[in-house]
Amino acid sequence: MAKLTIDDLKRIKEKVQKEDLFRAGAKRIKVTVHMGTCGIASGAKEILDTVMEEMSENNVNDVIVTTSGCIGICSREPLVTIEEQGKEPIVYEYLTKNKMRQIFKQHIMGGKIQPEFIMARGKEQDGR
C-alpha cells in the first residue's frame, strides 16, 4: 500500500468514524469484551466465545463484537461494555458464561438491561 500523507491520516480518521457500522446505524449494538491479560486470565475468552455462540444460535446479525484492553479495574474482570445506539454504554462486571448468556438474551436481544451484573454506565473521561 502507498505511503500515507497527513491528508490520508485525516481521511482515515473520518472514514473510520463514518464507517463505524455501529454509529452509522447498520448495527444496533456494540459489544466490547475487555481482553487485557487481566481479562483473559479471568476468562474473557470464554465470554467472547459465549457471545459468538449466542449470535449464531439465535441468528443475530445486527450486533458488532469487538475487543479492547483493560479498563483499569482488573479485580472486577471479566468486563464487557454494551453500547446501544443513542444510549449510555453499560459495563457489566464479574462475568461468567451464564451471566453472559442472560445478558445476551435479556439485554442485547430483549432490550432489558440486567442491573444485578452492572458495574456502571457511561464512559470514562480523559484528560482536560
Partner: protein
C-alpha cells in the same frame, strides 16, 4: 386435548444444562409420578429463556412463578408445597433486581471519577490490534504535527515546557534528556523504549502496551525525530507475550501505512522500530545493562558517565524512555506543553499511572494527576482495605522503593515528596499492605528479590545483599540478636554508597524504610521472638495463639471440644487464663483477626467456643497453696490485672492481699461491662477460684480513704497498683456541669452498683467505642425512650464491635455519624439539649483514618435531657504524692521504670492493667497481671540472691489431632440470642451460648494451623 391444571417448565438451554437442569428435570418427573399427579400436571423442557445466570430455572403456570437456582434436592419441596398445597416456595423465588435508576455513572464511582486519563486515554475504547481505531481517536496526529510543522528544537522546547519527567522511576526531565542526545555529535543515534517491567506487583507498562501499542510507537517517532535517530528498539521482557504480539502487529500495521519506515508521512524522516525480547532479568531495566543486552552481551551495567545520551547503544548517542513516558508524548505535542504543565504539582507535572495491588478492594491500573494524596488513591480510588482490616503500609517503587506508614497517607504523589518519605515514585507500583503484613518479612522478600536479581558485577551488591538477606532471614526465624538492626543499617548505607548501578544502590531501601517506620516490629522479632502480624511461622505454633496476649492454646481447646473432652479443655484454658468465662464473652479476639480460616470464609468463633467450655465444663476443685515465701504482697484493685497477678503470686507461694474499693471484686469486668453481656455469677465464680488459692480479697476498702497508701507501703514488701481507669474523660465543652451529664464509666458503675439511676426519656451518648454502646443499651433498659449515639466519624471507623453496634440498633438505639457536640444546653440547671456540629472527613490522621473536621454553620440542636460522654477514661492519680517516688505520665497513666514492663519508678512498686496502659481490654490486663507477677517474683529473688523461679511440671493433657479431609466453605455458627422484646426491658444475658451440637460443628471448622506435618 388433555387439560392440565398446572404446567412445570424446566429450562433445558445450554446455560441451565451446564448448571445441572437435567437432574432437576428428572427429579420433577419422578416426584410427579410419585405423588400420582401425572394426569394433572404437565412437565415441559423449554429452550433457554435467558436467565442463565440464575439457572437452573423453573417456571410454574398458571401463576407464572419463577424459581431460580433450583437444585434437584429442592424439587420435592416445590412439588409438595407449590403443586400439592398451592404455597409457592418463597426462598427459591426470583427477586426483582434493583431498578435501572440506581445504576451509578462511571464518574460517580470514585475509581473512575477521580482518575484523569492521558497515557491511558484509549484504554478499553479501542481495539489494540486495529490501527484505524487508534487513528480515529487522533492517533498519529501528534507525530504528523511534529514531523511536518515542528523543528526538533521546537519539539524539545515543548517537552521542556510540559515538565514531563521520566516515568520509569528516575524522574529525569524528558526534554533535557532529548536535548543532550540531540546535541551529541554523530549521525547514528538510537531511540529506545524500556518495557522491561520487573518490579513485583507492577503492570503499568504491560497494560499500556496491550491496550494501546500505537501510542508508544507514536511517542517514539516524535522522540526519534527530535534527537535524530533512525532506528529504535523496544526492550520488552519475554514474559509479556500478549504485549509483544500486539506491539509487533502494531509495528507491522504502522509500516504498512508508512508511519514507520522510510519517509514517514512524506516528511523525509525515517524510523525503524524493533522489538527486542529480554529474558526477564531485573537488572536489564537499568539503562546500561539494557543496552548491553540488546548488543547481545550479558546484561550488566557499566559505570556512568559516559551517559547514554553521548555514548549509548553501540556507543552511539541514545535516548531510553519508559513506556508510560512515550505514551504521554503525542498528547503533549498535540495539546501543547503548557496544557500538560497545567496539571500536577510544582515539580511534578501531568499524570502518573499506578498499578494498585495488594490488600485493596479495587485492584487495577489508575492514572491520577500528580499531587493526588497517596491516601486518596488507596481509599477513594482503591476502595480501601478488604474485610475491614486496618491499613498498615504502602510499598511504593518496587524493590528500589520503600514502605511508608499511615502517617504518609496525606503525602502528595510528587517525586520529591515521596523521596522525603524514604521511598521513590518508581515506575508506579503501589502495593497496599494491611495489618496482617509483617514488615520484616516484607523487607526480607524484597531483599531476596534484589539478591537473586543482582548481576554480580560489583561486590557491594553481590555480597552485601546476600549478607543483609541472611540477617533478615535470621530475624524472621527467631534467631535475631541485639545489634542486628544497626548492622543492617550500616550495611545498607555502604551498599547505597558503593554499588555500581541503581539496582544495588536502591536495594537497601525497603530495609531502611521498614526500619525507619516499623522498628518496633524488628525489635519484637529480635527481642521478644514475636511476629506481631503472625506471619513469620518459625516463631509460633499457630497464628491465633501467637496473636493472643496470653498465648492461650486455642487449637488445643478447640480440638478437645471436637473430641468431646471439655473438662480437659477447661484445664487447658485455665493454664493461661484465670477468666475464661469472662473472656468467652467480652474478649476482642486478637486471635480471630489472625485466624487462617478467615482467609477462606470467616474466622473461627473462638470466644464463643471458649465460653461454651467455661459454661459447661466441670470445674476442678481448687485447693489453697501453702505460703512458702516470707514477703507480703499488696495488690491495689481487684480487676483482671490485679487478680491475675495475685493468682500467680499465690501459686508461687506468696501471701497476697487484694484491696478493692467497690463492694465486689472484678473491676471493670463487673462495674463497666453491663450485666446483659457479663452475668455476675460468672465473674464471681472465677474470682472465687483465685480466693480459694489463699488470696485475701478485702472489698469495700479504699486505699487513701480507709487505709493510707503509706500504711500499706509500710506493711507490705511489694505493692502492685492495678487501679484501672475509672474516671471518664469530659468533652471539654460548655455546660458539662449541668444536672443530667454522666460520664459513661460513672453511669455504668452506678447502674452496676444497683443504685437507682434515673435516665431521662431522651438520651445522647457521645463516642464510638464499646463503652458508648454499653451506655446506650443500658439506657434503653432503664426506660429511655429515645437514645442517640453521636459519633464524629463514619460507622466503619467505630472501635465498637460490629455485633454490638447491630444489637444496639436492633434495640432501637439511633446512631448519628459525623456529628460532634459543641455545647450542652441547660434550663433551670438541667440538661435540655445539646448543640452539635456536622463533621466532614478531611486528611488522614496517624491511625490511617480520615480526620473529622467541623463544617462551619452546620450547627443544630438535639433536644435531650441526659448526655453521657463515652470518649475515653483515665486513672485516678491525685492520691499520688511526690515523695512516693511514683511518676504519672502526661497521658495520666503511671509511668514505668526504663526497660521495665511493670516496675514503676518507685522501689518495690509495680503497676499493671489500664493504670499502666490506658484503657485496654480484659485479656491485655490479664497479660500484664502475669507479667507483673513474674517481674515481682524475679525482683524479690534477685534481691535475695536466689535462683530464678522454676515452674512445677504441668499436668500433661494429650491433644487429639483430627481434621476434615476436605474443607467446605461454612460461615461461623450463629450465636442464639434472647428475644428482642425481652432484651429491651431486662438485664438478662442477651447471648445465650452455643449448645453441644453447635459448638461441635463450630469446632470442626478449625484448620489446626498448630499441626506439624
Amino acid at each position: 386435548m388433555k387439560v392440565f391444571r398446572a404446567h412445570i417448565l424446566v429450562c433445558g438451554g445450554t446455560g441451565c444444562r451446564a448448571s445441572a437442569s437435567e437432574a432437576v428435570h428428572q427429579e420433577v418427573v419422578k416426584e410427579i409420578a410419585k405423588k400420582g399427579l401425572s394426569n394433572e400436571v404437565s412437565i415441559v423442557e423449554t429452550g433457554c429463556n435467558g436467565f442463565c445466570a440464575a439457572g437452573p430455572i423453573m417456571v410454574i403456570y398458571p401463576e407464572g412463578t419463577f424459581y431460580q437456582y433450583v437444585k434437584a434436592a429442592d424439587v420435592p419441596e416445590i412439588i409438595s408445597e407449590h403443586i400439592v398445597k398451592g404455597r409457592p416456595v418463597e426462598r427459591l423465588m426470583y427477586r426483582e433486581p434493583v431498578t435501572e435508576k440506581t445504576i451509578p455513572h462511571m464518574q460517580e464511582i470514585p475509581f473512575f471519577g477521580k482518575q484523569m486519563l492521558i497515557a491511558l486515554k484509549n484504554r478499553g475504547l479501542i481495539d489494540a490490534e486495529k490501527i484505524d481505531e487508534y487513528i480515529a481517536r487522533d492517533g498519529y496526529m501528534g507525530a504528523a504535527k511534529a514531523l511536518t510543522e515542528m523543528t526538533p528544537d521546537a519539539i524539545i522546547d515543548e517537552m521542556k515546557k510540559s515538565g514531563l519527567r521520566g516515568r520509569g522511576g528516575g524522574g529525569f526531565p524528558t526534554g533535557m534528556k532529548w536535548m543532550f542526545a540531540r546535541k551529541s555529535p554523530g549521525d547514528v543515534k538510537y531511540i529506545l523504549c524500556n518495557a522491561d517491567e520487573g518490579d513485583p506487583g507492577a503492570f503499568m507498562d504491560r497494560s499500556v502496551l496491550e491496550a494501546d501499542p500505537h501510542a508508544v510507537l507514536e511517542g517514539m517517532i516524535i522522540a526519534g525525530y527530535a534527537i535524530g535517530a533512525n532506528e529504535g528498539y523496544i526492550y520488552c521482557r519475554a514474559e509479556y507475550p500478549l504485549a509483544i504480539k500486539r506491539l509487533n502487529l502494531a509495528i507491522a500495521q504502522a509500516k504498512e501505512y508508512g508511519l514507520l519506515g522510510q519517509n514517514i508521512l512524506g516528511s523525509g524522516y525515517s524510523l525503524d522500530i524493533h522489538v527486542y525480547q529480554g529474558a526477564g532479568a531485573f537488572v536489564c531495566g537499568e539503562e546500561t545493562a539494557l543496552m548491553a543486552s540488546i548488543e547481545g552481551r550479558r546484561g550488566m551495567p557499566r559505570p556512568r558517565p559516559p551517559f547514554p545520551a553521548s555514548q549509548g547503544l553501540w556507543n552511539k548517542p541514545s535516548v531510553l524512555n519508559n513506556v508510560e513516558t512515550f505514551a504521554n508524548v503525542p498528547q503533549i505535542i498535540l495539546k501543547g506543553g503548557d496544557w500538560y504543565a497545567s496539571i500536577g504539582t510544582q515539580g511534578s507535572k501531568g499524570t502518573k499511572v499506578f498499578a494498585l495491588t495488594g490488600a485493596v478492594n479495587n485492584v487495577g491500573l489508575v492514572e491520577v494527576p500528580m499531587g493526588t494524596p497517596i491516601g486518596d488513591i488507596i481509599f477513594d480510588i482503591g476502595g480501601g482495605i478488604p474485610k475491614g482490616k486496618n491499613f498498615k503500609s504502602a510499598q511504593l517503587g518496587g524493590p528500589s522503593g520503600g514502605c511508608v506508614p499511615a502517617s504518609a497517607l496525606n503525602t502528595p504523589t510528587d517525586y520529591e515528596e515521596i523521596v522525603k518519605l524514604g521511598a521513590i515514585m518508581g515506575s508506579g507500583g503501589l502495593i497496599v499492605m494491611d495489618e496482617d503484613t509483617c514488615m520484616v518479612d516484607t523487607a526480607r522478600f524484597f531483599m531476596e528479590f534484589c539478591q537473586e536479581e543482582s548481576c554480580g558485577k560489583c561486590t557491594p551488591c553481590r555480597e552485601g545483599t546476600k549478607r543483609m538477606l541472611e540477617i533478615l532471614e535470621r530475624i524472621c526465624h527467631g534467631q535475631g540478636k541485639d545489634g542486628d538492626i544497626e548492622l543492617l543499617e550500616e550495611l545498607a548505607y555502604i551498599i547505597k554508597d558503593s554499588a555500581l548501578c541503581g539496582l544495588g544502590q536502591t536495594a537497601p531501601n525497603p530495609v531502611l524504610s521498614t526500619i525507619r517506620y516499623f522498628r518496633e516490629e524488628y525489635e519484637a522479632h529480635i527481642y521478644d521472638k514475636r511476629c506481631p502480624a503472625a506471619v513469620c511461622s518459625k516463631l509460633f505454633k499457630s497464628p491465633c495463639q501467637h496473636a493472643c496476649p496470653i498465648e492461650m492454646d486455642i487449637p488445643a481447646y478447640i480440638a478437645l471440644i471436637r473430641a468431646n473432652r471439655i473438662n480437659d479443655a477447661y484445664k487447658v484454658m485455665k493454664k493461661t487464663n484465670p477468666f475464661p468465662g469472662v473472656c468467652g464473652r467480652v474478649c476482642p479476639q486478637f486471635c480471630a483477626s489472625k485466624c487462617r480460616r478467615g482467609q477462606l470464609d470467616e474466622p473461627m468463633a473462638i470466644a464463643w467456643l471458649k465460653r461454651y467450655i467455661a459454661d459447661n465444663a466441670k470445674k476442678p476443685e481448687i485447693k489453697a497453696v501453702e505460703v512458702t515465701r516470707r514477703q507480703k504482697i499488696a495488690v491495689v484493685g481487684a480487676g483482671p490485672a490485679g487478680l491475675t497477678a495475685a493468682q500467680d503470686l499465690a501459686l508461687r507461694g506468696y501471701k497476697v492481699t487484694v484491696f478493692e474499693e467497690l463492694p465486689y471484686a472484678g473491676g471493670m469486668m463487673r462495674y463497666a461491662i453491663p450485666e446483659y453481656r457479663m452475668p455476675r455469677d460468672i465473674i464471681q465464680s472465677e474470682v472465687d477460684d483465685i480466693a480459694a488459692l489463699g488470696v485475701e480479697i478485702k472489698t469495700g476498702v479504699k486505699v487513701g480513704r480507709d487505709i493510707s497508701y503509706d500504711a500499706i507501703k509500710k506493711e507490705y514488701d511489694i505493692v502492685l497498683l492495678a487501679i484501672g481507669a475509672h474516671k471518664s474523660w469530659t468533652l471539654d465543652i460548655p455546660g458539662e456541669d449541668l444536672q443530667g451529664v454522666y460520664g459513661a464509666v460513672e453511669f455504668l458503675r452506678a447502674v452496676n452498683l444497683g443504685k437507682d439511676v434515673k435516665v431521662g426519656s431522651k438520651v445522647a451518648v457521645v463516642g464510638g467505642g464499646n463503652s458508648a454502646i454499653d451506655a446506650a443499651r443500658t439506657a434503653i433498659r432503664l426506660g429511655a425512650k429515645d437514645v442517640t449515639i453521636l459519633y464524629r466519624r463514619e460507622r466503619k471507623d467505630m472501635p465498637a464491635w460490629e455485633n454490638e453496634i447491630v444489637a444496639a440498633e436492633e434495640e432501637g438505639v439511633k446512631i448519628e455519624y459525623l456529628v460532634a457536640p459543641v455545647k450542652v444546653i441547660g434550663k433551670d440547671g438541667k440538661v435540655a439539649g445539646v448543640e452539635c456540629q456536622r463533621m466532614q472527613l478531611a486528611e488522614f490522621d496517624k491511625s490511617g483514618r480520615r480526620r473529622p473536621k467541623p463544617i462551619e454553620g452546620s450547627n443544630f440542636v438535639l433536644s435531650i435531657d441526659t448526655i453521657v460522654p463515652a470518649i475515653s477514661q483515665s486513672s485516678e492519680t491525685d492520691w499520688i504524692t511526690k515523695d512516693s517516688g511514683i511518676t504519672v505520665t502526661k497521658g495520666g497513666t503511671i509511668a514505668l521504670a526504663p526497660k521495665k514492663k511493670t516496675a514503676t519508678t518507685a522501689a518495690g512498686v509495680f503497676v499493671a492493667g489500664d493504670a499502666a496502659k490506658g484503657p485496654a481490654t480484659v485479656v491485655e490486663a490479664i497479660a500484664m497481671g502475669h507479667q507483673a507477677a513474674a517481674e515481682i517474683d524475679d525482683y524479690i529473688r534477685a534481691a535475695n540472691g536466689e535462683p530464678a523461679y522454676k515452674a512445677p511440671a504441668e499436668e500433661v493433657i494429650e491433644i487429639p489431632f483430627e481434621v476434615d479431609e476436605e474443607v467446605t466453605e461454612t460461615p461461623k455458627a450463629k450465636m442464639p440470642e434472647l428475644k428482642l422484646s425481652e432484651r429491651k426491658i431486662t438485664f438478662k444475658e442477651v447471648e445465650l451460648g452455643y449448645n453441644k451440637k453447635t459448638a461441635y460443628k463450630e469446632a470442626c471448622r478449625c484448620m489446626r494451623c498448630d499441626a506439624e506435618l
